[in-house]
Symmetry: C2
Subunit: 386 residues, 2 copies
């Protein structure tokens, strides 16, 4: 086979578009140069659209976790109480960060594979009136669940003064996000998912209310102190040396999103979700989540009669196709297929066709072409048969 | 959809591997520099394997046609008699070149879509004993036919002193080629097909016997005079400025072929041919050629109940998928799918899945997934189910 051909269908990092790859290779420029400042300023309008906000979208050089940590350390302090909604590994991530700073964590644990209910969030908040911030995950990458972030802030605000802080890492850019309209106080995402970039940049925006809280907070650390980033952005710059090449790439990636058009980008992700789910359904392979909770960007399946890890191995060796396994308590039990960023319905047809061969190779009896046909049917239904 | 995503499944130019694309961007070097000389020399061993020859493989900067013309002008002159085996448009190309030089052409016309028979070649040669060269096409790109080049020289030599000159443009590199063992006197190919490069380079090698003829030939033109290229190669160089970037790319492409291994490269092309043919058979779409004549690198189908050009249009607009239509007398009547060079069985699964959607979109009633399933079955049969 083609030794260098790989298919990256994990839920991030995701494939890099050729034009972004080229942009990443632009000649290096000084991070305090006029060119870089101009570039830096030009990124804001696109990021505003991605976040659905008029607030500054700050750019950190770090992984998504760096911005999650920034969301914590800039808003709460040791001894403060917070509510963390845990729907999977990335809910746990917030818990871990908070605990590292001796913040008092109240957990709202939700069965992995399902989304949280805003009523349960309200109930928890009523029990813990001192909670200063609610931490939630938009798309829980570990389970392929999309949580009702659209409704969260309103529900929180009805019963509490707490800030609503959202990890949008594995979906923002691929699903419609209206930070301002939905009343999200802090929203975070990373570069390596729906934004079609390599890992290395994280993005964070805060509401007016959140900024008041941040500015009054005395223990914001150093590298992750958002006030520094806000001041930097006013001068079209960053407080510390940014990953300049990734800014070149971001410039191109935002242009690609604009060219495709955000409504079309979101529709493409919805289509890929539906194609993928229809395929597994037709092959009688159980999906981890129900339709209402299913993420547009990652689909989790829960094999009941074949070895998930053996399946992944054969896909990798046979085709260079990478899909993800389970994390945490779902390790070895599920498969996760990423369909976000630079990924098309045509790519999902290919992924599904390869997976059918992989299933037969590990001894699962399936009818060849059946999953592909189900996905094709969804495509035609959603895109029209003319 | 992803605006910049394209699928190039025409029979050349073919997709460029990422590492070749990178190599094409290496910093320019002087064409008479030591580095370029070293690079130039290093290309011969790989080209020897591609051609199956120990003779020099000369590199022309030009399209495949430039090397076809070189094969003509270096061996025959105005008034000489030649036999051209015409199995399609590229047989006609040889006729056109010969006629431009007032060479007397005897044609052996073969029904388009079938291969020639060596017995017919022998018969023609017996009728025309003064023929100095026989021109044949290895893979006839316009019909997807692979001709019996393995047997041609032997058959020619039994009845004639004529040289055997072969256009290998659309298959050499993708199918096993043994120029020396098969007794081919002149073999030509181009960069933009199985060699995974952009167009712009042509390759030509000649047997000891052919070199004698070339050296005695007084009217070899100027740019295409192969004696100049042979002298150049002795000094690890070219008589005229070569397309240096394409040499960088060739360096990488030959390494890719070596890494994959030539037997595996050829097996991959055979597998893609069989998958493609099985898919169209299962969809009851007639193939232009029978199995024995079918090329490993391009498959032609002959729709009998849908509009070939309308189908191509919908594939292009829906998915960015390019397949070719017919040429010459087959214009508008056939479809040609290229599966050569940087193209894998996984890519063909994707191509077939997209084509099924395209067929439904133009109103042809097919069972979704059926062609993909047939291709998957061929894959499993040929590659093993474990």
């Amino acid at each position: 086979m083609l030794k260098d051909q790989t298919f990256l269908r994990i839920p991030g990092p995701t494939p890099i578009p050729p034009s972004v790859q080229q942009a990443l290779s632009r000649p290096m420029s000084g991070h305090r140069s006029n060119e870089t400042s101009e570039l830096f300023a030009s990124l804001q309008p696109g990021l505003h659209k991605v976040f659905g906000t008029t607030q500054d979208v700050l750019i950190l050089t770090g992984s998504g976790t760096s911005a999650l940590e920034a969301a914590v350390v800039n808003t709460v302090q040791a001894g403060d109480e917070v509510l963390v909604i845990v729907t999977g590994s990335f809910g746990e991530r917030f818990v871990g960060i908070c605990e590292a700073y001796d913040i008092t964590v109240h957990r709202l644990d939700v069965e992995w594979g399902t989304s949280f209910q805003v009523e349960d969030v309200q109930e928890s908040l009523k029990k813990h009136p001192a909670v200063k911030a609610v931490f939630a995950t938009f798309c829980e990458t570990s389970t392929g669940v999309i949580n009702p972030i659209t409704l969260l802030s309103k529900a929180v605000n009805e019963v509490s003064e707490a800030l609503t802080i959202v990890d949008g890492v594995s979906c923002v850019g691929g699903v419609q996000t209206r930070m301002d309209d939905w009343g999200i106080d802090i929203l975070v995402t990373g570069s390596q998912k729906a934004l079609m970039l390599p890992p290395g940049l994280a993005f964070i925006a805060a509401s007016v209310r959140a900024w008041k809280c941040i500015e009054m907070n005395s223990g914001r650390g150093f590298y992750l102190d958002l006030v520094k980033y806000k001041k930097g952005l006013k001068q079209n710059s960053t407080p510390f040396t940014p990953a300049v090449s990734l800014l070149f790439g971001l410039d191109e990636a935002l242009q690609l999103l604009e060219k495709e058009g955000f409504p079309e980008v979101f529709a493409r992700h919805t289509l890929m979700k539906k194609m993928t789910r229809a395929a597994f359904r037709s092959l009688n392979i159980p999906l981890l989540t129900n339709d209402e909770d299913a993420s547009e960007t990652v689909t989790a399946v829960q094999p009941n009669d074949f070895d998930a890890d053996a399946f992944r191995k054969v896909l990798k060796s046979e085709f260079g196709l990478s899909i993800a396994g389970g994390q945490g308590r779902l390790k070895g039990k599920i498969l996760r297929i990423g369909h976000m960023g630079y990924c098309s319905p045509a790519d999902m047809l290919q992924t599904l066709a390869m997976m059918e061969i992989g299933l037969l190779k590990i001894g699962k009896k399936i009818e060849l072409g059946k999953g592909v046909a189900a996905a094709q049917q969804v495509y035609l239904t959603m895109r029209g048969t003319k």
